[in-house]
């Protein structure tokens, strides 16, 4: 019998998982075979050491940090997802106030000029925000920066081709699951745009992270994208994939059929 076979038998013997017949076989070998006896003593020491190692207590500060983090998440969940709504409201309110106070042709001219200036300021702000988030998404050294970039992208009202390209690249290539999921969320917001839709369909066949796969399937099914049915059939029968992913694909097939 090979060393590996004896390892397995001896482990079951130590764990008391052997049939009476196998137990007798092992005990006979322990009495007569010095090599098997040494192997048994070594295994027993290793297994006992593992049994006695026990669990370590996590530091108390971990609970404190988690509670802080949880409260931040609760606060963030309560906040609306748009970033420009409040300033825009202020601007509209200011415009209304001016309309009431001023009046007359002169006022109309000035209001027009002001609106023009506000529009330009908003465009500059949007451009600056987009440049900032593109730079964040491209930060190879910091996953949290990229995550933040994708989160800001989610709050954008519109996305140009450059932003969509970067988000698709992030969804496909980023090494961090959190960042990929955030990029997927952001792309989902622009899913009415044809290039985004096509990129999401393509990602379904290339994505390997189970969490991202599940989210992607849900998103495409919500979009009623029937062209993915064939891919969903493949996923639902792929033995290499997690059951959760296959279940989601199966549920998607039922919803789309």
């Amino acid at each position: 019998m090979k060393t590996n076979d004896w390892d397995s038998l001896l482990i079951d013997y130590i764990d008391q998982n052997l049939s009476a017949q196998d137990r007798e076989k092992v005990e006979a070998a322990l009495r007569t075979d010095a090599t098997v006896r040494l192997q048994y003593e070594q295994l027993r020491e290793v297994l006992q050491t593992m049994d006695h190692a026990g669990e370590q207590e996590p530091p108390a500060r971990m609970t404190t940090s988690f509670n802080t983090l949880l409260q931040e998440e609760i606060r963030a969940a309560r906040q609306p997802r748009t970033i420009s709504l409040t300033p825009a409201l202020y601007r509209v309110a200011a415009a209304v106030a001016l309309l009431l106070v001023g009046g007359g042709v002169g006022f109309w001219i000035s209001r027009h000029q002001q609106q023009q200036a506000e529009l330009e300021a908003m465009q500059r702000e949007m451009k600056a925000t987009q440049e900032m988030l593109l730079s964040m998404l491209g930060n190879d050294l910091s996953a949290s920066q990229r995550l933040q970039g994708a989160t800001v992208a989610l709050r954008m009202d519109r996305a140009d081709n450059e932003l969509v390209t970067v988000l698709v690249r992030t969804l496909t290539d980023d090494p961090n699951t959190n960042v990929r999921l955030a990029a997927l969320d952001a792309l989902g917001k622009f899913s009415d745009e044809r290039p985004v839709r096509q990129a999401l369909i393509k990602a379904l066949s290339t994505q390997t992270d189970p969490l991202v796969q599940i989210e992607l399937i849900r998103m495409l099914v919500d979009m009623k994208e029937k062209t993915i049915l064939k891919e969903l059939h493949r996923i639902s029968t792929d033995e290499q994939l997690l059951n959760e992913v296959k279940d989601e694909a199966h549920a998607g097939i039922l919803r789309l059929s």
């Binding site: 207590e57 971990m62 988690f66 949880l70 996953a143 969490l211």
Partner: protein
């Protein structure tokens, strides 16, 4: 309330329920990551990251799915992401020379401590999958059935792999003992 009911509540927007899941699972996840990473401080960060993902990606939890399997899958992903990020900078193998400073706070020179230290060093010579299997089955005393669900495979496959891992651990342990 079961874990699954709590997670369903979190998914439905009652994020405060995540604190109960944290109470139930933080020690298990911390220990899993501490044994896997061989570094308590890193395990602390990674554990926070696991629970952050539980909250942020709550919508990816499938109603009724076993919560424990789901959170361990997240833990494995967090660990894999960590190693992926580190890959370019250094080997994913643990720095054996600094193990005693990182994994255990206990510096007693008792025999059991020596054995545990030796065991930790031997563990670093196993593959990541083998370490995961031994942490779950031997340090955390989970049944093969549970681990098979977590690892998405059969009980027979888990048993074979665990026995093989123990056999290799034995060889590393007694080779290192002679050094």
């Amino acid at each position: 309330m079961t874990d699954e009911m709590l997670m369903k509540a979190v998914k439905d927007g009652d994020l405060q329920q995540a604190s109960l899941l944290f109470e139930r699972y933080n020690k298990r996840i911390f220990n899993f990551l501490a044994y896997m990473a061989g570094d308590r401080v890193l395990a602390e960060d990674l554990t926070q990251n696991v629970f952050l993902r539980v909250i942020r990606y709550r919508n990816s939890y499938r109603d009724g799915a076993r919560f424990e399997g789901w959170i361990f899958q997240i833990s494995r992903n967090v660990l894999a992401d960590h190693y992926q990020g580190q890959k370019r900078q250094r080997s994913q193998f643990i720095d054996v020379e600094n193990m005693s400073d990182t994994l255990s706070d206990n510096t007693d020179a008792a025999e059991q401590d020596d054995k545990e230290h030796l065991l930790q060093r031997a563990m670093t010579r196993l593959t990541e999958e083998q370490r995961q299997l031994l942490v779950l089955t031997r340090f955390q005393h989970r049944k093969y059935e549970e681990v098979a669900q977590i690892m998405n495979t059969t009980v027979a496959n888990i048993k074979v792999k665990v026995h093989r891992a123990i056999g290799q651990l034995r060889e590393h342990y007694f080779t290192l003992e002679k050094i």
